[in-house]
Each structure stands twice: as C-alpha cells, then as structure tokens.
Symmetry: C2
Subunit: 432 residues, 2 copies
C-alpha cells in the first residue's frame, strides 16, 4: 500500500478501504506523508466524495490518531450536543443546564469563534473568573457532581483533525461533506458520550447556505454516529436571521440567563427546548418527543435549569455578578440604528450582522485577534415587527472609535417592506 495508489483509487472513484484510510491518516500524523500528497488526496475526496462506510472509517482513523475521553467513571447517561455554528448562537449555555438539571450528564468540549460565527468558549470566558481549562480529572469530577462541564478542545484529542483542518483551510478543500462530517464526528466520538445531538444550521449566517446542503451534512453525520454505535440525531435550524436578540459574548450570556429564567426570546427558547427534549428522548428519559417537551419547559419555569447553570458557572470559577448590574453594556461607543421608513421588518440578514459584530470587536477573523467581551449588537426588532420612521432597529456596542460604515452595514441587514411578512412557524426538522 502506498499513498499514490490510494490517490489513484479515489481518482478512479473506487471506495477506499479501512486500511487505506488508516494508512494516510497515520502517515500524515506521523509526518511520513507530506502535505502535498494529502492535499492532492483531499481534493480528490472533495470532488469524488466518500460513501458512508468510508466516512465512518475516516472518522475512526481520526479518533484513533489521539487520546479519547473515558467517561465510564461518570454515573448516568452521558449526552453530547454540537451546533455547526451561527450568529447569536448561545444554545449550549441553555441546553447544557436544561439537560443536566434533568439528570443527564454533559461532558462537553467546545470551540472558539472564528469569522462571523461565535464560539461557546468565548462566551463562557467573557464571564469574569471563569476558566475553560480543567484537568481531565477536574472535568470528569465536575460532570459527576454538577451534571455538566464545558472545556476547550484539548490538544491530545483528534490531532489528525487539527492537521487536516489546517491543510484544508489553505487548499480549498474545506467545503466537503465527508470531510466536514468526519471532522465534527471524530471530535464527538473521541469525547466519549453515548448520545449525540447535532444542531445543523442552514441559511446565510450558517456554514451550509441551504436546507438541502444542511440535510446532506446532517444525514452524513447521523450515518457516521449510527455506524459507530452511538445514538446520533440531528435537528435542522434556520440561521438566515440571528438567533435571539443579541450578538456578542456578554450580551449573549445575559440573554442565556434570561432564557434560563423563562424570559428569553421566543425563537431561541423554542430551539433550546426542542434540543433538550430530543436529547431527553435519546437518553431514554422519555419515550417520545411530545412527552419530553413539557418536562423540559418545566425545568425553565421551575428555576431548576437556572440553578444548574449557576452551579456549573461557579464550579468553573465564574462570577455572574457583572450580569446583574447596568454597566454590562458600557462601551466607549454606543450607536443606535434608526429606521428611516415605516413598514414591516421582513428579514434581518444574519451574516451581515455577524460580520459587523466582528468589526465591533465581538469576534475575530484570525485566531490571534483579541475579543472585546462587551462589544456586540442588541436587536430591538425581529422579523414580522411593525416599525415607524425614527424607531430604533438595534444598538451597536464597541470600544473602538465610531466607524462610518457601521451604520450603513447595520441598516443593510434589515429589509423593511410595506406588507407584513408571513412569519414562518418553526417546526422541528429532525434527521435520525
């Protein structure tokens, strides 16, 4: 077996064997196969695809490239969730405490934000005192006692993914269903949970631009999980509009707290309840989604989910005091965005606001950039709302000096029309 015969097989649209896939992953991690040969193979995979068996083998080869978490010391059902990322996506901050308050165990590793999509680790680290760097023993201990813990990706987990992703990023091979699916699933499998819920987002603010693409990715990931013996399901969710009313790290933590106290925005609350209910079914706490759903809502109303959130934050050293004082929004620059015409808000372009939030300091375009935790955007309207000339659409917060183009860019995100839009009723779209 050699790398050239593997490349040739993929060029000729032959499925790669488990041995071939292990050969190139191991060879790359051990620096025996150079970048340029893997780059050529990745492009052949991108253009000729991989079948579900190959994709599962690729996932396992990546899992085996490093350390895997052993959650067997934790009692109870170990669940996990993953979002493909979006604008204003603070779901893990609410779903985590929800499922932990119901007795499930969430040992979660999350990523940092990049580009227009935020990351759970950044949101958590915006909480004064909180650390996302726990030792493995601390991590397991906290999941056992509190019911949940969230830490950053450890370097020892799936080193093949880090290498492959870095290479894909500079060789035009990021957009490939089997490569995306195996990248995500290898980390979930290595993290050790028994059940995995995938929140696959579609729309302008998501990685997958259409619901069709998102469906293909969701099916590919569910197939991997099922092949590898993990209860894996996926929900598809809309990321054409920002999720909830806030974009930016501390602003989103504050919104998550409100949601955990039963006072969150409708769209965001609904998504969190949906996700937690599906996870409860996966954990076999309920037979059906319809049974699970009211119980999940009860966890919000009763304050149990919020209590778990506080325990979780405190366990990781976080101090929530800052979120109850008005100074949270204090930034050098505060810019209200005012609508000129009257009418109905028919859409709010998530990608435009996501990129604007990066300009404001709430995100980063390169891994080295520093995030301003207070920066961000607060929406005052959602699609379907009626506005009059002079009304405020949103407020921009930044510690940078005011840039002319901010207001222009913000206004571009809002479509105002004379006729009221049909506001879509969110329905749970599940792949299992």
């Amino acid at each position: 077996m050699n790398i050239l015969s593997i490349i040739e097989n993929k060029v000729n649209k032959r499925a790669l064997s488990e041995e071939e896939i292990r050969f190139f992953i191991d060879g790359y991690v051990q620096q025996e196969i150079p970048d340029y040969q893997i780059a050529s193979l990745l492009m052949a995979i991108k253009l000729h695809g991989m079948n579900p068996t190959e994709t599962a083998h690729l996932t396992m080869a990546m899992v085996h490239s490093g350390h895997t978490m052993d959650l067997s010391s934790i009692e109870g059902i170990k669940v996990d969730k993953h979002s493909t990322g979006g604008v204003g996506d603070k779901t893990s901050l609410v779903v985590g405490p929800l499922v932990a308050s119901m007795g499930m165990k969430l040992a979660k590793m999350s990523g940092k934000g990049l580009g227009h999509t935020g990351g759970t680790i950044d949101k958590l680290e915006s909480i004064p005192g909180l650390t996302t760097s726990l030792t493995e023993a601390q991590f397991l201990q906290q999941v056992q006692t509190v019911g949940m813990a969230i830490i950053g990706q450890t370097k020892s987990l799936v080193p093949a993914d880090k290498l492959l992703y870095a290479l894909r990023d500079v060789t035009g091979t990021v957009q490939s269903i089997p490569l995306i699916a195996s990248s995500i699933m290898s980390k979930k499998i290595a993290s050790g949970a028994q059940t995995i819920l995938l929140d696959v987002k579609y729309g302008n603010g998501a990685f997958m631009k259409t619901i069709e693409e998102a469906t293909v990715l969701a099916k590919a990931m569910v197939a991997i999980g099922q092949t590898l013996g993990r209860d894996t399901r996926a929900i598809l969710s809309d990321m054409n509009e920002p999720l909830g009313l806030t974009i930016g790290n501390r602003l989103e933590v504050k919104e998550a707290i409100a949601t955990l106290q039963g006072q969150g925005p409708k769209d965001f609350t609904a998504l969190c309840v949906e996700a937690a209910a599906v996870m409860a079914v996966q954990a076999k706490l309920f037979a059906t989604y319809e049974e699970a759903s009211p119980h999940v809502e009860h966890q919000l109303i009763s304050g149990k989910a919020y209590q778990t959130f506080e325990n979780f934050i405190h366990a990781q050293g976080g101090d929530l005091h800052v979120f109850s004082i008005p100074s949270l929004h204090e930034t050098h620059t505060e810019l209200p965005i005012i609508v000129a015409q009257s009418g109905y808000v028919t859409s709010i372009h998530a990608l435009t606001l996501g990129l604007l939030s990066v300009s404001l300091g709430a995100g980063r375009l390169t891994k080295e950039e520093i995030i301003e935790y207070n920066a961000g955007i607060v929406l005052l309207v959602k699609p379907g709302d009626k506005v009059r000339s002079g009304d405020r659409l949103c407020t921009l917060y930044s510690n940078k000096s005011l840039q002319k183009e901010w207001a222009t860019q913000a206004l571009k995100a809002f479509t105002i029309e004379e006729k009221a839009p049909k506001v879509a009723i969110s329905t749970l779209q599940m792949i299992q």
Copy 2:
C-alpha cells in the same frame, strides 16, 4: 487574486483566466505558493479538465517561466518533432538526418529514458565520444552548418515544467490531458521551431494505452500549437509492438544506421518516412504528403540522409567505428529465447519487452540508475512470422549475471497461435 480563489474556480468548473494561470505558475516558480496548494489545484485540474484556451495559456505561462531559444540566426525553415515515447523508438535518429538532408533545420532538445520507454539522449550518448551538452552558440552554429543538432533539455528552459512534473509525479496527477499537453508543448514552443510534428503513440508500450486517448492528447497539443501560431500536426502510431527489431541503446543506433542506409525494418522505415514527409509539407517544401513521400524515400536510397547523420554525429564528437565491428553485442550474458511450439507470431507485447530491457540494464527505473549501452534485446521475428518449435524468437544481451525470470518474461511477450494473424496495414493517421 489569490491561489484559493483560483482553486475554487477550478473546483466550480469555471475556466481559469490567463492572469490566474500566470499567477499560479509564476507564484510556484518563485516559491511564493507552496507545494500543497499547487497539488490541490493540479488535482482539481486533473478531475475537472481545462479547455483549449486555458491549456494554451498554461503552456505560455510555462514558456515564460524561463529562457526561450532564439533560432532567428539560423537560415531556413526551423522544424521540430516530438515522440511521446515508446519501446524501441529511435525515430529521431533517422527522421532528423532525413529532414536535415532535405534542407530543413532541426534544433532539437530531447529527454532521457525512464521506465520502459527509451530516450534519444541515452541512445546518442551510447555513441563513443558524443556529447549532448553544447553551449547555445555551438548548438545554433551546428544547426546552421550541419542542418541539425540534438542536445539535452537545458535547465533554463521551462523551469515551471520541471517543478510541476516533479510534483505531479508524487501527487497522482501525471495522467491529465491538459497537463501532459502543456508540458510537452511548452518545451516545444520554448525551443523556438516554426513547425512541430508530434508522434503520439498508443498501445501497451506507450503512455496512452488506447488510440482514443492518444487522439484526445494529439488534438489538445495541436490546438495549443495552432492557438500559439505554430504549424503543429500530429501522427498517431502503434506502440503495442516494439518499433523495429531492437531495444537497447547501441542496438538501436545500429538499427537507425541500417535504416538510414535503406536496410531498416519495414515498420520503422515506414514511420520515419511518414514523419519526415509530413514535416516536409509543414516546411512547405511540398504541397502534399503524396508529393513529399517519394522524395523522402530518395534521401534514404541516395545515401544523403546517412551522410547528414554522419556529419551530425561527428559534429557532436561521436565516433561511429564501434558500430561496424562485431564486438558491439559483446556482453557478459547472451541469452537466446527459443519457442517451444510451432505456429504464427500474432503479437509481441511492447511493454513486457520494454520492462525486460530495463532489467537487462538497457534502461532505468529511477533517474540515478546507470545504463549499460550494450544491453538490450534483438528480435528475430515480427507479428505474422511463422515459427517452428526450436526457432529463436529473440536474443537478450546483458552484463548482469543471468536471471531465471528473464527467459520466462521474454516468452510471455510473444503470442504464438495456430492461425496466421491479419497483419495490419499501417496507414498514416494524422491530426492537424
């Protein structure tokens, strides 16, 4: 413009612009774009192809990566020919003197052999004293006075091709019509001739296995030449059987000499006459192939072509004395291959004998291997010949100690059947 957007365009099956093609070729030659990005792009080109305009731009971008030959100081029509390579292919040694003896000027650069295909430079260097390393001034002077000169590829010509070929060789992207066509044509264009004849071989002993593939390659190369304003034509020739009766460097030179003296094997003589006649039409010495052909034959019979050959060899320091003494074949090992059954030779597998000749020492599998000039194979039969049990099919010559598998491998190359085969009548297949 950046390399990622160029890769993305090719992934999305968009034709690359002249600027994009120059950008990646120049960037690679100047070491500004790393191997892995070019590897990814090459695979995308291999799988999604290039249209004739892109291929012409690629060719010119490669030509511009280095020095180009200026043949303007040479009087007369400057012609060139190129063979895609095969087993026993000594065509240039005969066609060169043929066309030079008719007044055309051949300033030719040739390659070394690799694998089962021989190279003109090795055959020439098997002639004692001969050098293929001339200065540019010496080269031009010799073409002017003798009518022809053949030297090795200079490093300054088309450096992009050397880099790209080395990368293609290790990334599974060798087999790609636009990449092969631009590689060959860039060297021909940079060599400066006004007319180019391509001898595109098909069959088991050739790079292109079928006549269909060879036709596609020939058309691609002719299109490049025409787009770039050079009279470019191609002939398709069969490489399922070895060309002529000899394989191996000095053996082939000896056969070329016999052919130039009008005593060569039919198949090889016919190909040389065809090629020279087409070149004479390209050079406008004759209006039609039918007019040119008898004149070319006359150059053989009259001894004029052989006289030019001698002048050419002597000008490059070669001593032909060795070819007129019986010691030419003297090797440590001489192995007659005897047929066991009676019947007709229906085919002689070129690739098998090409690879066997490498084992005997007549060729090299890696660039570093040293060639034994006396080693090789002499055929005593051709397809259509009747043989009796005990007859000799061929003789193997080697300075290595006898290997058991040589005889087995040699016998495998010959198919002997009871019924006489239909011997194909060679017809000129031309692409123009």
